[in-house]
């Protein structure tokens, strides 16, 4: 130690003595973090951050918070005691606010195991575009442009007006980007997608590196990226159909025939099992967190079970054991009273003010199953879940082949394009069942999970729905949109858009006297086999109108001097594609 001191004193004195203060003080370059990184390192972060921001994330999940956590409630696939209940999520809602930040500026988050991840979508894509341009890596640039356009389109769909033309330019001195109207942004996104396709198809570029496994969406498959790009355009055009005639543009896309046209061409983000780092589907968090966050919407459940007296009555959906996992069985006695029970299915209602809504049901409630989050296939064993009940490897589905078929069915049904919506709906439903088997395959479960396609009930169900379709001509659009809603379970962003455009599926409404007479909703009367007597009707309420957009991320408004004021009533703030 003394030696070291002498060494340093000599060193310090010598340094100063020689007058080379400058060199002595020139030490402010961080040796532990790089000033430049490869586009290969930025792409997986951008892709996974995007899926995380859109999806369901549970609590204390893999460092991610997603809009799906709010929207799952808004599209009545989930219920919660938190603020999304009764459409009440404010701009400061953790998931909403944090997802906004992740999309634009980045967030620092920690996994359940304490590992720090940095998430960022648009700024990372921006750096990829800049660097790829400089390096001649046009394949990366093409992918980044398509992802960037898709991200902005989803932001417009969710919020209406968002920062665009002045966004992501802090280094150029713009600290307070203005908000642009969605109607101004959308046309530019089509151009951006086309430009991305051009980059991908460019054959003269140097492309010193090409995307491979670092592209965790398509593994570098350029053709699939082109398909995804065109499908995004199809979706955006469909969303604009209420305010403009999109027939020509849609037909052009259909004629070109480069849409997603097979299950494995779907635009999805893969998740993994718990490995050297935690890359599980964030929605799987309820399996390893003792305190659960997400309840399954009894409304969604009752439609799948054929309980709804108005729609699909008596038609039981065979996807139920793939969609939900019941931790309880028919005879399970719960420690606390339940609010909505149907044998082993236990949940709470949207808008509940019932006496049993707040009781803990962590070890008893029904959870998201193998299809939405890579949880457990419900073989009826009724066990409380653990971290190893499932794998958590279910992908996040941005746009699937089934979605393409439903979009086409909708366009046909709406008369935008020619074709038979009935055939298209049937094809879409068939593909939805394929998709379940496809996702289960990606999950790599340790249980033996039967294939649903060809099992029998799948065809029965499809036939039943087709019969229902034929018998109810006035409800055909509702049937298409409801089936799409069921198919897309777990990926809620586009469903929220679809509902606002088409008003379908019909959602749970506590103020509808035919659904909740006297403000009470009746769970299955004999749904609780462990308690004698009928199950009590649950008082429910709804004091807000349906939000036509989400409130802006509160952090953004707090910091941005050019931001508009917060939406006082999101039910009056519509996106440009609504008439």
């Amino acid at each position: 130690m003394i030696k070291r001191i002498i060494y340093y004193s000599v060193l310090l004195l010598a340094t100063i003595g020689l007058g080379s203060c400058k060199k002595f003080l020139d030490t402010n370059t961080d040796p532990s973090n790089p000033t430049t990184v490869s586009v290969q390192q930025l792409l997986p972060t951008a892709e996974s951050s995007l899926a995380g921001s859109l999806g369901i994330s549970g609590s204390s999940a893999i460092g991610v918070s997603g809009f799906g956590q709010v929207l799952g409630v808004y599209v009545h696939q989930l219920t919660t005691r938190e603020d999304p209940d009764q459409y009440g999520a404010p701009g400061s809602d953790f998931y909403l606010n944090d997802s906004w930040n992740t999309i634009y500026g980045g967030t620092e988050t920690q996994t359940n195991g304490g590992v720090t991840y940095y998430q960022d979508v648009l700024q990372n894509l921006q750096v990829i575009i800049t660097n790829a341009t400089a390096q001649g890596n046009l394949k990366y640039r093409g992918i980044a442009k398509i992802l960037k356009a898709y991200t902005y389109s989803e932001m417009v769909d969710l919020f209406g007006n968002v920062p665009y033309s002045q966004a992501l330019q802090l280094q150029q001195g713009i600290t307070n980007p203005k908000f642009d109207s969605g109607s101004v942004i959308y046309p530019q996104l089509f151009l951006m997608i086309d430009s991305g396709i051009t980059d991908l198809q460019n054959t003269t570029a140097l492309n010193p590196i090409t995307p491979g496994a670092d592209d965790i969406i398509y593994g570098g498959n350029v053709l699939n990226w082109v398909r995804a790009a065109n499908t995004i355009k199809l979706k955006m055009l469909t969303q604009e159909r209420l305010i403009t005639n999109v027939t020509a543009d849609v037909n052009a896309l259909l004629t070109a025939d480069t849409l997603i046209s097979a299950t494995d061409q779907s635009f999805i983000l893969h998740y993994g099992t718990l490995g050297s780092s935690d890359n599980r589907n964030p929605g799987y968090a309820d399996y390893y967190n003792s305190q659960k966050t997400n309840y399954i919407s009894p409304w969604f459940y009752s439609i799948l079970k054929g309980y709804d007296p108005r729609l699909f009555t008596g038609i039981k959906d065979p996807r139920v054991p793939y969609y939900f996992y019941n931790q309880s069985g028919p005879s399970t006695v719960t420690s606390n009273k339940t609010e909505y029970r149907d044998s082993g299915f236990i949940s709470i209602l949207f808008g509940t003010i019932g006496p049993n809504s707040a009781f803990l049901q962590d070890a008893n409630q029904t959870l998201l199953g193998i299809y939405p989050v890579g949880g457990k296939y419900d073989q009826g064993d009724a066990l409380p879940v653990t971290a190893s009940s499932g794998t958590g490897a279910a992908p996040y589905r941005f746009l699937t082949y089934a979605d393409v078929l439903y979009l086409e069915a909708e366009l046909m049904e709406a008369g935008v394009i020619a074709g038979n919506p009935r055939t298209e709906l049937q094809a879409a439903m068939t593909e939805s069942f394929n998709q379940v088997d496809f996702v289960v395959g990606l999950d790599a479960p340790s249980q033996t999970v039967p294939k649903i396609v060809g099992s029998g009930p799948d065809t029965v169900y499809i036939n039943n729905i087709m019969n229902y379709y034929d018998a109810n001509p006035s409800q055909q659009m509702e049937i298409i949109m409801t089936e799409k809603w069921i198919s897309a379970f777990g990926d809620c962003v586009d469903q929220y858009t679809d509902y606002r455009r088409t008003k379908f599926p019909v959602l749970f409404n506590p103020n509808d006297p035919t659904v909740c007479p006297g403000g009470f909703y009746q769970p299955p009367v004999n749904g609780d086999p462990t308690t004698p007597g009928p199950q009590a009707a649950v008082p429910v309420q709804l004091t807000r109108n349906y939000p036509l957009t989400l409130p802006f991320g509160q952090d953004e408004l707090n910091a941005n001097q050019n931001a508009p004021p917060q939406k006082t009533d999101p039910s009056t703030y519509k996106v440009f594609w609504l008439p």
Partner: protein, 1057 residues
């Protein structure tokens, strides 16, 4: 001829030697007031050149040539005294403080010793003895209430937990607001190394200063203002604490060997637990239930048994049902009696040219929470020698090794590993001690395993173990080149190394139940070098002048390595090897360098008027290259007006006024001038990185603090009353902080010189001696500290900035910065009110409506703090009683929230009735009152059960008063009285020691924190607002299920040989 004379002289000397007796006179000099041994007191034989000065323990010994001599005893700040002594005698002399002179010497910046009368700024000199043998191993905690102008904040009640100290308020946003602590010339950081975010877990981490051995402290001086500390440059804006250790100040003229041994033993308990209700058990709405968190169940009179909790169903020896009865001590039984055992041995000795001092100490502290302990060993050695060529060399070395073990904490409601998740909230019918705490496979069992880890299990299985070593070495050379020119060179290093292992065991609620280990290895090494030339020309008796010029080089190097292992393969093996996956989370190196040049000129006039001018220029490695050299300066002056005006009065003995103004510059943390990418762990096996969320700024310049202080020091009635008053006004500008940017800019923050903070306040130090007789003295020492902190401005357009993320959502509470508010004010969720202040009630539910807009809900900064120390001395007995009082400040307490929300304390016992929340009906969507057709508001008439008042189980943006309420309702006034310290000491008279080889011996008993009273918190929660969850970090006023404070009883013995 000369030779002859010399011979003659020698002869005379020899003959005197043969004619007169020769021998040794020894003795000990103590302070007349409190009996503390005084060092550095000059002892001379009257009429001769023979003399020495006392050592650290107050003793001296002299070779005298006569049998009977008169000793002249004098020391700075004490009245001179003459006492007779004879050869072979051992005299005990007590001397009295010179009430008139007030010429106390204090250590000022760079270790320069100056007479207090010449200072234009406030310096507090702390007697290190007040820190010793008080059953408190932490130096800072022992200072509480004893020094004006110092704000000390404790954290958790477990051993080794951090202590925060601030002087004259927070003068930074994101940096460390704590003062610069200089130990033997080298900075000593009181930073807390936070391995795991203390919101969601983490231990009760210690802070750096806990490594310091109180037994080795020779002097402790606190420079509060910028004028005093400007010479230190960066960070001195927060004040400076200058500590010299005994080993670092071994001084000349020591003779012989002196050994001091001190030992103490203390027992500790939880200071206070809530008063629990024991009428109602687990359940809800008056119905017993075995799945509830709360004690809102049936009256014990009405129900005898309850179905066995699911986790214990079918467990051997446990039947189908369990008794439904109160277990009044179930919380108390989670804890034990802790103890502190401390031993310290000090050696000092030397001769005229050389001396040494060495201290060896060991302390062992077992907390009241099982498996919590802290132990620390200190070894220090210092030596001094004067070479024949006149060069003085001083060198010191100290080494400390500490180990801290304890369980984990954090916000208790969501999958936390906290051992305190439910500890203070146990349902009144849970017999936790009577039930197994783990199953056959070692996983925790409890009545509600999905809600908390059984504390008996968590204490041992969710743990944080830290080992810390610190080595301080230093060399100080000084040499008088000429009589008027003195050169000093000092270089030292303070090297700290910390290793920490945090474990969450298999089966815990946290870490997915698969087990998790986090290992951190942190090192920091500070090197500080100062070269000083002091020029003191003789300019006659009227004026005095001193000019000092110096150069300072400092370097701070840190390394940090954090690896996280997840999923234990074999149970019970806590190593990264045994984890299924290991991720490197942090691997960071930082280097910070600074070169400063400074000058200080002091001009004195007739020893009653003084002017001091300082200037310093720094060059820092961390700032923009165009702004990294910056100059700052200051001036201060003092006038002893009683001398100047020749006031001779028995009423006013002494009067001094002082004034100072100074500017201090500070630099940034390393690496804020260049953007880097952040490296992520692999994503699906792909190496990944992300754009930084925070943008660097190549244009960062220094921060500046400007401070004005005015003060006076007065003494009345022969120093029966003394008063020291200071007023200051401190403005810190161009604060380097990350400015929040809208995410849409691509970053969430941009480093900028962005804000301005004002701190204004007063410090009063009052001494009164109501009674002073020959055998009895009563002294009162009062301190008063008031600081008002307010943010004056933020960078263009920024309204507020989050300081740290604690809790979001409807229970949102986070420390923020906003113009017009104090730094770190609590910003969180509030209930909606109408224009008259009535709360709005949802007419459907009778609950209050929580606003979507957050607001100011509290200020953690106390309005003022007071300490009142009464000392009674009678013969050998000293009784000391210290009370301190904190007025105002607020605390968000999750402990209180949950104690109320879970219905466990007597506060919630009154349940036989229902309640109406006073308010008017409102619309939860519009957040406006609902009006009648006549435009009138409608008063709420909806009745709620007691349970609903404290526990809101509904949905949406509503709430009542405790659990799930708007956070404003869980913020309480932190006003608190503490009976901080009571000690009774006894100096054992020599005659009792007989022929034992003991120089002196003293015995004392102490009690610490024996009682407290916090009028602002719910009565039966007995919550001590001093608790805090975030240690010495800048997040204050937020408590998340932390360990309560402690009270201690100790016995102490000190002997010198």
């Amino acid at each position: 001829m000369k030779k002859l004379l010399t011979l003659l002289g020698a002869f005379l000397l020899l003959s005197s030697h043969s004619l007169f007796a020769q021998g040794i006179v020894s003795g000990k000099i103590t302070d007349a007031k409190d009996g503390t041994p005084l060092s550095g007191i000059s002892v001379k034989v009257k009429g001769s050149a023979i003399g020495t000065s006392t050592g650290g323990d107050g003793t001296f010994s002299l070779n005298v040539t006569e049998n009977n001599v008169i000793l002249e005893i004098s020391g700075i700040g004490y009245l001179a005294k003459e006492v007779p002594a004879s050869v072979g005698s051992d005299v005990a002399v007590s001397i009295t403080k010179d009430v008139k002179a007030l010429t106390e010497v204090v250590v000022t910046a760079l270790g320069i010793k100056r007479a207090e009368r010449g200072l234009g700024y406030s310096v507090s000199k702390v007697d290190p003895n007040i820190l010793l043998q008080k059953s408190e191993p932490d130096v800072l905690k022992a200072l509480e209430g004893k020094v004006a102008g110092v704000n000390i904040q404790q954290s958790q009640g477990t051993p080794g937990a951090a202590t925060r100290i601030t002087i004259r308020g927070d003068a930074t946003f994101f940096g460390d607001a704590q003062p610069l602590i200089i130990v033997d010339g080298v900075p000593f950081s009181n930073d807390q190394i936070t391995t795991t975010n203390q919101v969601s877990g983490g231990g009760a981490y210690s802070s750096g200063i806990s490594d310091l051995d109180p037994n080795d402290i020779a002097t402790l001086n606190i420079l509060k203002g910028s004028a005093a500390s400007a010479l230190y440059g960066s960070r001195a804006a927060n004040g400076v604490i200058i500590i010299t250790t005994k080993s670092g100040s071994a001084s000349r003229s020591r003779k012989g060997l002196e050994v001091t041994y001190s030992t103490s033993l203390a027992f500790e308990k939880v200071a206070n637990l809530p008063d629990y209700q024991n009428q109602f058990g687990q359940g809800a709405y008056d119905v017993a239930g075995n799945g509830s968190n709360g004690s809102w169940g049936a009256n014990f009179k009405n129900v005898d048994s309850i179905a066995t909790y699911a986790a214990y169903a079918g467990y051997p020896g446990i039947g189908d049902s369990l008794p439904y009865q109160a277990y009044p001590n179930n919380v108390k039984d989670l804890f034990r009696t802790g103890h502190i055992y401390e031993n310290s041995l000090n050696f000092s000795g030397g001769n005229e040219k050389t001396s040494f001092n060495s201290t060896v100490s060991y302390i062992n502290h077992d907390g009241y929470v099982p498996n919590s302990n802290y132990d620390r060993a200190n070894l220090s050695f210092g030596g001094y020698t004067k070479l024949d060529n006149g060069l003085n060399i001083r060198a010191n070395f100290s080494y400390s090794k500490s180990n801290q073990l304890g369980s984990l904490f954090g916000e208790a409601q969501s999958n936390a590993p906290s051992s305190f998740a439910r500890s203070l909230l146990l349902a009144r019918s849970w017999n936790l001690e009577g039930l197994p705490s783990q199953d056959a496979s070692g996983k925790p069992l409890s009545p509600l395993p999905t809600q908390f880890d059984n504390p008996f299990w968590a204490d041992y299985h969710n743990t944080s173990a830290t080992g810390e070593t610190r080595t301080i070495v230093g060399i100080h050379l000084d040499y008088a080149i000429r009589k008027w020119l003195h050169a000093d060179y000092q270089i030292g290093s303070n090297a700290m190394s910390l290793t920490r292992k945090e474990v969450i065991d298999i089966g815990s609620l946290a870490a997915s139940g698969v087990g998790n280990i986090t290992e951190e290895n942190y090192t920091s090494e500070q090197i500080e070098s100062n070269f000083i030339l002091t020029f003191t020309p003789n300019i006659g008796n009227i004026f005095s002048f001193k000019l000092l010029g110096g150069q300072n080089v400092s370097q701070v190097k840190t390394t940090d390595l954090v690896n996280i292992g997840n999923d234990f393969i074999t149970a019970g093996i806590y190593s990264l090897h045994n984890a299924a996956s290991v991720t490197n989370n942090i691997d960071q190196f930082t280097l910070h360098r600074l070169i400063g040049l400074y000058a200080d000129a002091t001009l004195g006039f007739k020893n009653f008027a003084f002017i001091d001018l300082t200037a310093r220029n720094d060059q820092s490695s961390t700032l923009s290259t165009s702004k990294n050299s910056y100059l700052y300066y200051g001036a201060s002056g003092s006038l002893v007006f009683t001398d100047a005006l020749k006031i001779k009065s028995d009423v006013l003995d002494f009067g001094k006024i002082r004034a100072g103004w100074a500017k201090v510059g500070a630099d940034a943390q390393p690496y804020l001038t260049q953007n880097t990418f952040l490296l992520n762990p692999p994503i699906l096996g792909q190496s990944s990185a992300s754009n930084n969320v925070q943008s660097a700024n190549a244009d960062i310049g220094p921060e500046f603090t400007r401070e004005t202080e005015l003060g006076t020091q007065l003494s009345f009635f022969k120093r029966r009353i003394s008063l020291d008053f200071t007023w200051y006004d401190k403005i810190t500008d161009l604060l380097i902080s990350p400015a929040t940017t809208p995410a849409s800019s691509g970053y969430i923050a941009l480093i900028e010189n962005l804000g301005k903070i004002s701190n204004k306040g007063v410090e009063i130090d009052l001494g009164i001696t109501p009674i002073r007789t020959k055998s009895f003295e009563w002294d009162i020492h009062g301190t008063f500290t008031h600081n008002e902190n307010v943010v004056l401005s933020l960078t263009n357009g920024l309204t507020r900035l989050p300081l740290f993320g604690v809790l979001g959502g409807t229970n949102s509470i986070n420390p923020y910065i906003e113009v017009g508010k104090p730094v770190g004010f609590l910003y969180g969720s509030k209930t909606v009110r109408d224009s008259l202040g009535n709360v709005l009630i949802d007419p459907q539910t009778g609950d209050m409506i929580t606003s979507h807009t957050l607001g100011d809900i509290g200020d953690p900064n106390p309005k003022y703090k007071m300490g009142l120390d009464n000392t009674f001395v009678y013969k050998g007995f000293t009784l000391d009683i210290l009370i301190d009082y904190t007025h105002g400040g607020q605390i968000y307490s999750e402990s209180i929230t949950n104690e109320l929300g879970r219905g466990v304390t007597k506060d919630t016992q009154d349940r036989e009735t229902s309640w109406i929340i006073n308010g008017v009906y409102g619309d939860p969507t519009t957040e406006k009152p609902i009006l009648t057709s006549g435009g009138q508001e409608i008063a709420n008439t909806k009745r709620l059960a007691t349970e609903d008042i404290y526990f809101f189980g509904g949905t949406g943006n509503e709430g009542t008063f405790a659990t799930n309420a708007a956070s404003e309702w869980n913020v309480y006034d932190a006003t608190v009285w503490h009976l901080r310290e009571v000690s009774l000491g006894y100096e054992i008279p020599k005659r009792f020691l007989g022929r034992l080889p003991i120089g002196s011996a003293s015995l004392s008993v102490t009690g610490r924190n024996l009682w407290f009273f916090a009028p602002g918190v719910p009565k039966y929660t007995n919550f001590d607002p001093e608790q805090n969850s975030f240690g010495s970090t800048s997040t204050q006023g937020i408590e998340l299920s932390s360990a309560p404070t402690t009270k201690r009883y100790g016995i102490n013995l000190k002997v010198t040989f």
